[in-house]
Symmetry: C2
Subunit: 243 residues, 2 copies
DNA sequence: GCAAGATTTTTGGCATACCAAATGCCAGAT
DNA sequence: ATCTGGCATTTGGTATGCCAAAAATCTTGC
């Protein structure tokens, strides 16, 4: 079949090249619903409630003020993400991860982050690497992380995300963020735990030092071992979270 | 609120334990459409056609004999997978990856596979590791891989998938499979290239040997370097594929 | 003959109605 | 009191129809 006729070139219009980026894409209800539901699922502490959490299409459509159609499409997307599972004629259940699954995810995280570290040693600018220290500038001998766990936990996540970003690898960034979203539920209860916090900060500094030294193998190893340490910790001490 | 009442235990019924399995879950049109479209997208050589490929909801619904609703849900899922991108009032376009993106994906694959290798050295049975050699039993000095590229390429993929599976990590398996689906379009044109095929087989054997020796660090390194080698190859020689 | 504007067509977004399966409640039988 | 069958309800699945924006096409005036 013949190719569709190409749209003809735009007329001259030499003046307005200014700030006409693309107009707001006016995100659809589908995407709004997706974002809203995703945030709601992440916000709720899924592991705090004993019974499994169910969603109802009609209730959601009423709540969000749209019809079921965009809601269903959003649900389909969330199911692809692994956040929910819809069972025909039964309902939509918010997925709970088992301890084993979480450990598994953290291992994958470790894999991706160590690769990011590897790439960073060959491409990132020294300035950007050094800037990673800033995430922890509010912590020191007089202000220990374990005394400000909530704050440190935030800095921790921000550090890891900034680290991955330095790899300039969209794939690594996206995959890691996906994993972090799933692990997030546990984060406050694991990364923030006092006993691990004490060793966390020195390990981070060790990673930064290896990156600055452009020591590819060492940076990779330190990044990997650091996150694998978290996995081992959850595997060993995460029992109480999954009663 | 009180938990939903649990269904009570089944009555005796000692007789009919025969072949009452579970009835087919009767997958929905939505899922059928998803599978059908996914396969169609993967099958078509998206990089062979010069113009971008568009999908039409109505045409698809007619072709598959279902209404637009399940089609749209399937499209929403495919969009989450990154196979298509729907532009409002414009159409649904099958996504083309750039060379840079493919290289990026292969690097992530390397990260995941090296972690799998690491895990395998500590958990897999020797028997299963050794079995990996079978994928290449049809190739030797008298029957070189580069003379049977198509066949070797298949064995290659099967080997990598089997390798990852040995890690017994569902997350690693799933993430890697996702990546392979995206890279597959290039596979025949890259992994199968003669110049790389020659070095591929010995590298695979090297990985297997390290696994058998339970040499965690070496296995990880070899697995990583092998796949990073592919990434470097595509980066260097993949120009012609992305005109 | 051509360009600007009006009109028709195309295409995804959304709302609504109906369907069928799974559950749960309840009356009637034992 | 308990069990059984059936009916009403709930809930996801699917089909349809209409809408608005953007493209494509046609019309018209110079």
């Amino acid at each position: 079949m013949p190719a569709r006729k190409q749209p003809k070139a735009l007329p001259a219009m030499a003046e307005a090249d200014i700030a006409i980026v693309r107009i707001a894409p006016e995100t659809s209800f589908k995407n709004k619903a997706y974002e809203a539901l995703k945030e709601a699922i992440l916000k709720m502490d899924i592991y705090a409630t004993p019974e499994q959490v169910m969603l109802d299409e009609r209730a959601l459509s009423e709540r969000l003020g749209v019809s079921r159609t965009p809601i269903r499409e959003a649900i389909a997307m969330l199911e692809q993400d692994g956040f929910v599972k819809t069972v025909p004629r039964r309902g939509i259940v918010v997925v709970r991860r088992t301890k084993t699954e979480i450990v598994d995810m953290i291992r994958a995280w470790a894999a991706l982050e160590s690769m990011a570290a590897r790439l960073i040693t060959t491409t990132a600018r020294k300035k950007d690497i050094t800037a990673l220290r800033d995430f922890f500038k509010d912590f020191n001998q007089d202000r220990l992380p374990q005394d400000h766990i909530e704050e440190y936990s935030k800095a921790n996540i921000a550090f890891h995300q900034a680290l991955i970003s330095l790899s300039e690898s969209p794939v690594l960034v996206d995959m890691t963020n996906d994993i972090l979203l799933h692990v997030r539920g546990y984060r406050q209860l694991t990364i923030g735990r006092k006993d691990r916090t004490a060793t966390s900060l020195p390990e981070h500094m060790g990673i930064i030092e290896a990156l600055e030294a452009r020591d590819t193998e060492l940076a990779e190893k330190r990044a990997r071992d650091h996150t694998l340490g978290l996995a081992a910790y959850v595997e060993a001490h995460g029992q109480e979270l999954f009663t």
